[in-house]
Symmetry: C2
Subunit: 235 residues, 2 copies
């Protein structure tokens, strides 16, 4: 039996990254999941991530604290109101205030450190260029540029070095998928979407608000996929 390769999977607790974890498992990787605590308004998604990782029986689930509040500038980390009830055109147009400066770059840097110390050469991240076209660090050209950095940055990736050197790979299986396609693929692989949390601003009882951009995209995704939405929405 061939030993399965390890892979670091960024796991937020949301619908997208839960699907990515299922895809990594389906591709034969042994996932090490990585969740960040970064001054979000609620810790519910960190709990959701831990439960998803536990259910998938991952090799290791790591939680890393990073304080992005020092840098301000985002509705997810500072005191800016999360937009509610925006139209599809508004959601698709321009960079939203929920953009966190350099967030994916910081996340991927820690993922790279974890991969190198774990002996993994594969990193999975659930970025999506369609539903979240407003985020610059979800674009294919950004992903390609960071993949190059990963191999150049590391002892493990140095070509011709003492360890031989290998290329790191940054997997973005959701990059060109619609939300409906993500949900269809995840459902095929048995993802329990009831245990995922997408909302930027959940109700006090833990339910999805139903009005923020993420809730609207989630709800429409289930509708478009023709799959029953197990999510409880407050509105």
């Amino acid at each position: 039996m061939t030993k399965q390769p390890k892979a670091v999977v960024l796991l937020s607790g949301g619908l997208d990254s839960a699907t990515v974890l299922a895809l990594a498992l389906d591709q034969g990787f042994r996932p090490i999941t990585l969740t960040f605590r970064y001054g979000q308004r609620h810790a519910l998604e960190i709990d959701a991530a831990a439960k998803i990782a536990n259910r998938a029986a991952v090799e290791r689930h790591a939680v890393v604290d990073i304080d992005l509040r020092a840098f301000g500038g985002s509705a997810l980390t500072a005191d800016i109101a999360v937009p509610k009830g925006r139209s599809a055109a508004e959601i698709g147009g321009g960079i939203p205030v929920t953009y966190v400066p350099a967030r994916n770059t910081i996340f991927l840097s820690f993922a790279l450190a974890l991969a190198e110390t774990s002996g993994a050469f594969d990193i999975f991240i659930g970025v999506n260029a369609l539903d979240y076209s407003g985020y610059p660090d979800c674009r294919p050209e950004y992903i390609q540029a960071f993949e190059k950095v990963m191999t150049l940055a590391t002892k493990a990736g140095v070509e011709g070095g003492a360890d031989g050197g290998r290329n790191f790979r940054l997997h973005t299986p959701l990059l060109q998928w619609s939300k409906a396609e993500i949900i269809r693929q995840g459902t095929r692989l048995g993802v329990d979407y009831a245990g995922t949390l997408s909302c930027y601003d959940p109700a006090t009882d833990g339910r999805h608000c139903g009005l923020c951009d993420a809730c609207q995209l989630r709800r429409k995704g289930f509708q478009d996929a023709g799959i029953d939405d197990p999510t409880g929405y407050a509105a």
Copy 2:
């Protein structure tokens, strides 16, 4: 009078980054200094960085906590002995155990977040490809790859975006300088090297150990530059 552009300067408290700060000031930038607390064995260099920033009257001095110990794998963050008394050939050959996985990538990611939220498009880092040729993330090709990531990753860097978009620049003025050249240039600009700390493992009284790789490179640099070394060495 033209307003001087801001720049984020990574400041470790060592000789190299103190020189970089002086060079950024000399080039007309208003520096915002950024120091990391990351599970080093001693906090003396963090104090040294704060004093250097204060002396240079920087716009802002930011200290960010990051816990690299979760990732292990380095003499600077874990319980691996710092090598002492190595020969020049040993220092120059291969990747040392003091290598921290993905460290510069993590540092530069936070610098990018700080730059974007501060309105800076320039980041200075004191990496050096000669004296520390063993670190993969000090190589010119790594620096170029990360510079590309910076512009692609950010709202501020998106070309043709709502804000117009600008390229970020990653300045590495020390990249091809010898330690002696660094010291000569810094001395010309009035850097107070007595206030810098290079040692990986200082004595209990705060003096440089004199035996680790960093101390040996520092001592030899002053000798080669023909400049009096203000540093107190324990051995």
